[in-house]
Subunit: 744 residues, 2 copies
Amino acid sequence: MPSGYRHTREDVVYEEDQYELTEDGRIPIPYRRTAKYQDGNTIDWLHEEGLERERNYALQSQAGVRGILLPALDSVRMWFIVVVTGIGIGIAGAWLDVLVKWLSDLREGHCSYGFFYNSNACCTGLDPGQICTAWQSWGDYLNIHSILGHSLLQAFIYVVLAIVFAGSAALLVVNYAPHAFHTGIPEIKAILGGYVFDAFLGPWTLLIKALGLALAVASGLSLGKEGPLVHVACCMAYLLTKLFKEFRHNEAQKRRVLAAAAAAGVSVAFGSPLGGVLFGLEELDTFANESDVMWRGFVASAIAAVSLQWVNPFGTTKLVLFQVTFVSDSWRAFELIPWVTLGVIGGILGSLLIRLNVEIALYRRNSVLNEWPVLEVVCVTSVTAAICYLVKVQTSELVANLFQECDPTKGDYHGLCNPTATIENVFLLCLTAILKIVLTAWTFGMMIPAGIFLPTIGIGACLGRAVGLIMQSLYRAYPTAWIFLSCPPDPSVGCISPGFYAVIGASAMLGGVTRMTISLVVILFELTGALSHVLPIMICVMTSKWVGDALGKDGIYSAWIAMRRYPWLPPVDYRDKGETGANLMKPLSQVIIIEDAVTTVGELKAMLAQYQYHGFPIADSHGEFVGYATRQELIAALDHLQLDETEAEAQRKCTFSKNRLRVPAEERVDLSDALEDSIIQLRKEVPQELVVNMFQKLNLRQILFTHAGKLTGLVTKRDVVNLLTSHFPHAAALAQQPPHPRHS
Amino acid sequence: MPSGYRHTREDVVYEEDQYELTEDGRIPIPYRRTAKYQDGNTIDWLHEEGLERERNYALQSQAGVRGILLPALDSVRMWFIVVVTGIGIGIAGAWLDVLVKWLSDLREGHCSYGFFYNSNACCTGLDPGQICTAWQSWGDYLNIHSILGHSLLQAFIYVVLAIVFAGSAALLVVNYAPHAFHTGIPEIKAILGGYVFDAFLGPWTLLIKALGLALAVASGLSLGKEGPLVHVACCMAYLLTKLFKEFRHNEAQKRRVLAAAAAAGVSVAFGSPLGGVLFGLEELDTFANESDVMWRGFVASAIAAVSLQWVNPFGTTKLVLFQVTFVSDSWRAFELIPWVTLGVIGGILGSLLIRLNVEIALYRRNSVLNEWPVLEVVCVTSVTAAICYLVKVQTSELVANLFQECDPTKGDYHGLCNPTATIENVFLLCLTAILKIVLTAWTFGMMIPAGIFLPTIGIGACLGRAVGLIMQSLYRAYPTAWIFLSCPPDPSVGCISPGFYAVIGASAMLGGVTRMTISLVVILFELTGALSHVLPIMICVMTSKWVGDALGKDGIYSAWIAMRRYPWLPPVDYRDKGETGANLMKPLSQVIIIEDAVTTVGELKAMLAQYQYHGFPIADSHGEFVGYATRQELIAALDHLQLDETEAEAQRKCTFSKNRLRVPAEERVDLSDALEDSIIQLRKEVPQELVVNMFQKLNLRQILFTHAGKLTGLVTKRDVVNLLTSHFPHAAALAQQPPHPRHS
C-alpha cells in the first residue's frame, strides 16, 4: 500500500468530534448510523447535488397527483423555513433591543412604578415640559443627598452592573456554548462555503448567543450586535431545517436556507433589507452561484424588516436607525478633498485595527489569558465602564449624535456645537477614536458575543466629525477664501455639514476594516437615509478600500478565517506565475488508491478504518483511472452486501468496472454503485489559475488528474485553501478549538 | 474523414462577416492577418485567459525596473479606459439631455433672441411673476391670430417635426448603422458573455446611436434613453480599447472593460450610481465572476455620476430625477393590499407587454413592414405625436407629475388633484396605460434607438396613480371604516399618498417587464429618493416577478436574445431530469478529428479550409485522446513551419505527442505547440446539470468527453444555449441580420 498522504488531521479542526476506532481496527457500528459529515469536514457539493437530483427525480416520477404534489411540497418546505426565519429574527431583533435598553437603563436607575419599564417607557404619557419623576436614579432611590456620595454610588453601580452583565455573558459562553463567542461572520462564511460545523448552529449556541449578546451590549463594551444577529438568524434556520428530512440529509440544501437566513440577519441588524441581500452577495459570496438563493435572501430580508417594524420596539415606525438631516441637500466639489483624506485615514486606521486585533488575539491565545477568559472580560469591562461613565455615553447614542447637524432649536449634544470650543472638541473626538480603536481591538475576540460594525462606525464618526469641525471653523474664519468660493459668503448660512462628515468618516473606517464595497454603501445609506449623498460615500469607501488593500490584503473577517484555518476559499482573482496543476497536485505516490479487481474486501475495510479521507480514487492494476468513491458510499455498499465475517469473504476482490471479468464471479464483489457520477478530471498541464478557479466557482472538494486515461494525482480543497492563505503570516494560529463546552 | 458536424452556420449570425475561401480551397492569406474571431463567433475564455497569463508572465519576468513598471503600466491602461469612459458617458449623457430638451421645445416654438436656447434657458433671469415673452410659439411668430388657425398650425408643426426627428433617426440607423436600433442591452449581455460582435460597438454605431437617440426621444415616441445609453457607453469603451494592443488582442480583457462601461451607462441613464453596479451584477451577470470587475464597475459608475453632476445640464445639482415627496414618512399595513394587487397587475401586464412585443416583432419581420422600416417609424410617430399633442405631455414629465403628491400651494397637474373627478381621472389613467402598452410594444423594436425603461415606468405610474386615487376616494368616503382604522379619522389630514402608489405601480410594471429584482429596487429608490418606502417597493417587485415568472419565464431582454439567437447562457439554475452528459454530447461520429501522426499536412490544410469550426480535437489512431487545438493556433503553427508547397511536404504527418516516435523524423512535422493547455474533460456519465453549470460558471466554449483515455464526444456552448432556450417558442425567429449597412 503506498505511503499515506495524511490530510485528515488538517481537515479536522475539532478533533474530539472524530469517532474512535474499535480496538481491532474495524469501523465501529455507530459510525454507520451517524451523519455523513463530522464537524470539521468539508462537504462535497457535487455529491450532495447528486443526491438532491436523485431525490427530485424520484419525486417527479411518482405517478399521478403525487408526482405534482410532492415536488411542490418540497418548495413549500423551503419557503416555510425562509419565511419563519425571517419573522423569527425580526421579532428576536426587536425584543433584543428592548432587553438591551432595559438592562442598560438599569445601570443608571429604575422605574418607581414598575421594575420592568425602561427609562423611556417609564416617562411616557407626560405633558411636554413636565419633568419625569417616576424614573429614579439609584442615588435618589437610596436617598443619598450628598453630591459626592450620589456620584460615587451611581458610578459604583454603573461599573458593577456592567461587570455583572459582561461577566455573566462570558460565563454563559465559556461554560455552555463556546461557539457563541465573537461575531460569527467568519464561521458563517466558512459554513456557507461548505464547512461542516453543526455545533456552531446548535440550540444552546442560539440561546446563549442571543442572551449573551443582550448582556454584552448592555454592559457598554465596545461591541455591536450586527454580526451576532446574523449568527442567531442562521441558528434559527438551522434548527428549522432539522424538522425536515430533505434538509437534514442534504448539506447543500441546508446551506441554501442558511444563506437566506444570513441576509435576514443583516436586514434586522441594520434595519437595511437591501443591505442584507447585498451583504449576502458580496461578503458571504453565496448568491453568485444561484439566482434562486439570492431571491430567497431577498424575501427573507424583506420579511425580517417587516416583522421588525411590526413589533416596533420603540414606538417609531422608521427602519432608518440614525436618521441624518443635512444643512443642505447638495455638496460642493471642494469637499471631496477632506472626504478623500478621510478615506485615506479610514484605510490606514482600519488596517491598523485589524493588525492590532490579530496581535491581541495571538497574545491572548499564547499567554496566561487563555486560561482566564472570564477574568479578561471582567477586567476589560471595568476599564470600559469606567471610561464610559466619565463620558456618559453609549456608542449607539454617540453615533446618532455625531451624525446630527447642530440645530439651535434642539440643544447641543456634548457641547459639540459650541463654535468657540473647536480645538477642544477635535482633541476630544480624536482621543475617543484612539481609545475606541484600542478597546475594540481588544474586545473583538474575547469570550463574549461581539460585533465589529458599530464600534467601527463610532470610531469613524468621531474622526469624521473632527474633520468636519476643522473644515467648519476654517470656513467660519475665512468665508471668502478661494476654496470656499462655492459656499455662500455669509458663514452663518452654513455650508459645511459636520454631521455628514461623521457619516463619511464611518464609511471610511468600515471600508478599511471590512473591505466591503457596494453592500457597505447600501447599508450606510439605508442606515442614515443619506440618499442624496450616496456619491461621496461611494468615493470614500473606494479610497479607503484602496488604501487598506495596499496595507494588507485581508479584511478582518478574512483574517479571522485564516487564523482559525477554516476551509474557505476567498473569492479572489488568483493569478499564477506560470505554475500548472502539477505544482499543486499530490502525486500518485502520496495518494491512497483502491485497486479495481485487486484490493480485497478485507483490505478495503482495513483502509477505511486506517485512513480518514473523505474518499478514495480507484484505478486498475495498470494505473488506468476507474473512478472515485466516498468512504461513506463504500461503507454503505459493503454494508449492503451483508458479507459474513469469514476469511473467504474477506478475500473476495472489490470490482468497480468491466475489469470484474478478470475475476471469477464467486471471488469478487461488485461495488460499482459506490462510484461518484460527478467527477472532474484535468490534465496536470492545466494552469494553476484554472484549477483554483474551478474550485472557487464549482464548489469542488477534489479534482483528479489523469493523463491518457491514467491517474496521476489529486488536489483537494484544503490544498487550494492553503495556497490562497499562504500570504497571511498568522494562518492557522488559532486553529485549535476554544475551551470545551462542559454541557451541551 | 468522418462526416461533418456542421455547427459553423449556426454559430455565425451575420454570414457576410465570414471570409471567402480562395478558389483552390486554401486558406486565404488575409485571413491569417485578421483578428482571431469574426463577428458571430464566441470567444474561448480559457484560451484568452491563457494568452493573458503568458503575457503577464512575460512582463513580470522582465529584468529590473521594467519587470515592475510594465505590469503597473498595464493596470494604468485598464484604469485609464475605465475613468475616461466614465467621464465621457457622464458628459455625453448631460449633453444628450440638453439636445433633447432643445429639440422637443422646438416642436412648440422658439426663443426670439437666440435660436439655440430652449424654453427654460430662454426665460431665465425673469423676476417672479413676470411673463416670459422671449419664448414664442410658432403661431405667435407667424402672427396668426385666429384661435383655430393657431392651434392647427401648432399641431401641424408639432406632428411634422416629430415625424422629421423620428424619420431622420430611422434613416440614419437604416443607412449608416443598423446595429444602432433597439435598446442594445440584449447584445451587450451576449457580448459580455463572450459573443463577438465588433460591428455593434463601432464608431458609426456610437455616433448614430447617440444622435438618433436624441432625435427619437425628442420626437415624443414611447421610448426611453436608458438602454441606448448603456450601448453608447460600451461603444466608447470599445473605441478606447483600440488604443492599446493588450485589449485589441485579448477579448477577455476587452470584456472586463466593457462591463465597467455598462455600469457607468446605467449610472448616467438613471442618475443611479449604485443601481449601475447592481444592474451589472444582476442583469448583465458579469461581476459574479470576478471581484475586480465589480470594483471597476463601481468606480466607473461613481465617476460617471460625478461628471454628470459636474456638467449639470439643467442647473440642478440633484441626481434624483423624479424627486418624490410624501404626505407622510410612514405607511400603513392595510396599504399592502392595494400594493400587492398592483404587483399582480404589473406581473400580468408586464408579461402581456413582452408577448405583444414579441408578436409584433415577428409580424414586422415576416410582413411587408420588413422592407419599409423608415415608413413604419414615420407612421407610428405620426400616431404617437397626434395623441401626445392632444394630451400635451411627454412621458418623463408625466411620470414626474404622477409621482408628485397633490399640494394645494403648487397647483394641479392635469386636474389629477380634483377630488370630484376621481372616476374620470381613473378612467383616463387606465386609458393612457393601455394606449402606452400598445405604442410601447410597437415602438420597441423599430429601426430607431429605443429603451424600454421609461415607457414601462410611465405605464406603471398611470396604473399606480389610478389605484391610489381609488384608495384615496374610498378613504375620503369612509374615513372610519375598519380598514382605515390606522389612518387619522379626519380625511383632510391625508393618509393615502397617490404619488407613492404611482411609484409602486412603476416598480410592479418594471418587475413584470424586466424580471430584475434587487437592482430594480435600488434604481427605483435612487430615482425617486423614496428611501423610507423601500420595503413596499421590494414587496411589490417580488410579487410582480413571481406572477410574471408564472406566466412566462423570460424577461424582455431574454426574449430578444432568444429571438435573435445570441449565444448567451442564461444564469438560470438548470435542473436535468436524470439526463447525463451523453444526452447533450455530439458523439465521435459527428466530430471532425485530427489523427495524431496519421493526418498529413495536406489533409490538415484541407480540413481547415473545409470546416469553419473554432477548433479540432486530436486523437491517435487508437482513439486515445491527445488534446485540442484551435484553428487559429493550427494555422499559426503551420505558418510557422514555412513548408514548401510541394507534394512531399504535404505528405508529412502532423504529430502532437509522443506518438511522433512512430513516424520517421523526416516524414513528420511537430505541431504540439498548437495544443491548448486548459482543456476540460468529463466522462459522459456526469449529470447534464453539472455540464450546464460548468459552461455557465467557467465561461467554457467546449467540453470534451473521454472514457478511459479515449475521446467519446464533445459539447459546445451552442449546444448548451440551444438546450436552455428550447422552451422559448420563437427562438431564433429574428436570427437573420437587420438590413445591411450601405456605408460603414
